[in-house]
């Protein structure tokens, strides 16, 4: 069993931000993503998922460390000032490194 280290970048953002985030993923060269609707609370108060327009989306991306660095940098520069959003990075290990 040969596991290879990768980064998992998790982004929780308001629904309106999902499209720009996905566009950014394409630009920084992430090979895929997984997304699902969530509700939550944070600096901008409670975000209830009762209306799709007011809900949050959680987006998870497995990528190489250098892609993760660029992704986080651009998130912080381009999207943090604009949307309610949280992003964090963690360490994971995958089986087929070529896939990411």
């Amino acid at each position: 069993m040969n596991l290879h280290p990768m980064k998992l970048v998790t982004i929780v953002c308001e629904a309106y931000a999902a499209e720009p985030v996905l566009r950014l993923l394409g630009e920084v060269g992430a090979a895929g993503h997984t997304a699902f609707p969530v509700e939550g609370s944070g600096a901008r108060g409670r975000r209830l998922a009762d209306i799709p327009e007011y809900a949050n989306t959680q987006i998870e991306v497995i990528c190489r460390p250098e892609v993760a660095a660029v992704l986080l940098e651009r998130l912080a520069g381009e999207l943090f000032p604009r949307y309610g959003m949280v992003a964090y990075e963690s360490d994971v290990r995958v089986l087929r490194p070529g896939k990411f």
Binding site: E14, Y16, P37, R44, G45, L48, A49, D50, I51, P52, E53, A55, P81, R82, Y83
Partner: protein
């Protein structure tokens, strides 16, 4: 008028809305799953659009262009007069003033539906194709408000957003697309198509709207706690400005040749504030604006006001003007 007011307050639609408010206030766990909200919205927009389209085929386009132009003009004008009020009366930041002005110039489809429900209940006729006014009046105020906000931010101020994206959002948002699309489908199908789908899109409509207003009560009620964040100026604004716009709207409707019912509907459109299409477009174009201000006043102040008091008020005003 007090009789009409009472009839409105005791209609299933308004009472279910109140029940939703109560549910949110007593923190009952009652809530509608998000897909049910979407399903009800899709149904209501498609049904009203389709019905309006069929009516347009029957009435002919000739009868709608003048009121439509009037509605567009009215929508574009509202942010122009409310912006200075918000800016200097309310001492709001320029970008917030522009955002709120855009919301109040745009329209709320559910308020419009409740008004048609009201007219049906009191047996007053109106132009069924008036739904076209709802469709054309969503975007103009958004575009004007965004321009006001961008100008206020200055040439290099604010986050840059491609103009194309803003226009697409203002014109092709989910609700406008559904409404306009169903309108075109209805216009192409005509009465023959209507006969096929009437038992689904027309007969149960009022009941579905009542159920939806229960959900809207919960949604609005859950934002009531944000009211203290918007302050007394916006609370007053959220009641007074709709009254002014509503009275103005009925006048414009009369001038554009609408019937008594149709004029009242244009008043309701003018009075209503958008809480779906405008937030989406404004969030994209003016991310610097604080969404809580515009959303809370539109959803938790103006919407309940129009639903309960505004609708019979504009109807009484129309009755007064037309006779």
């Amino acid at each position: 008028m007090s009789e009409a007011l009472l009839a409105n307050l005791l209609s299933p639609a308004v009472l279910f809305f109140a029940l939703g408010l109560v549910a949110a206030l007593v923190r009952s766990e009652l809530k509608f799953p998000e897909p049910l909200y979407s399903a009800l919205t899709i149904y209501l927009l498609v049904a009203i659009g389709f019905k309006g389209g069929v009516a347009m085929t029957e009435a002919g386009l000739g009868r709608i262009w003048l009121p439509a132009l009037a509605a567009i003009g009215l929508g574009a004008f509202i942010p122009l007069w409310t912006y200075p009020v918000l800016r200097w009366g309310g001492r709001l930041a320029p970008v917030d003033a522009a955002a709120i002005a855009a919301h109040y110039g745009s329209v709320s489809a559910v308020t419009f539906l409740a008004a048609t429900n009201y007219l049906t209940a009191i047996g007053r006729s109106y132009e069924s194709h008036a739904v076209a006014l709802l469709a054309v009046m969503e975007s103009p105020a958004i575009l004007v408000g965004v321009i006001l906000g961008k100008r206020a931010l200055g040439p290099r101020g604010g986050v840059p957003v491609p103009l194309g994206l803003i226009v697409r959002e203002a014109l092709f948002g989910r609700s406008i697309f559904l409404l306009l699309g169903a309108l075109v489908v209805g216009a192409l199908c005509g009465p023959a198509g209507m006969r096929k789908v009437e038992p689904f899109f027309v007969t149960p409509f009022q009941g579905v709207l009542s159920l939806f207003l229960l959900e809207m009560g919960i949604v609005a009620g859950r934002r009531l706690e944000d009211l203290r964040r918007v302050g007394p100026f916006l609370l007053a604004f959220g009641v007074i400005v709709p009254v002014v716009n509503g009275l103005l709207g009925v006048l414009v409707g009369q001038a554009a040749g609408l019937s008594l019912g149709g004029g009242m509907l244009l008043g309701v459109l003018a009075a209503s504030a958008s809480y779906i299409a405008a937030p989406a477009a404004v969030r994209l174009a003016l991310p610097e604006a604080n969404p809580t201000l515009s959303l809370t006043s539109a959803l938790a102040v103006t919407f309940p006001f129009n639903l309960t008091l505004g609708i019979p008020l504009f109807d009484a005003w129309a009755g007064y003007l037309y006779f």
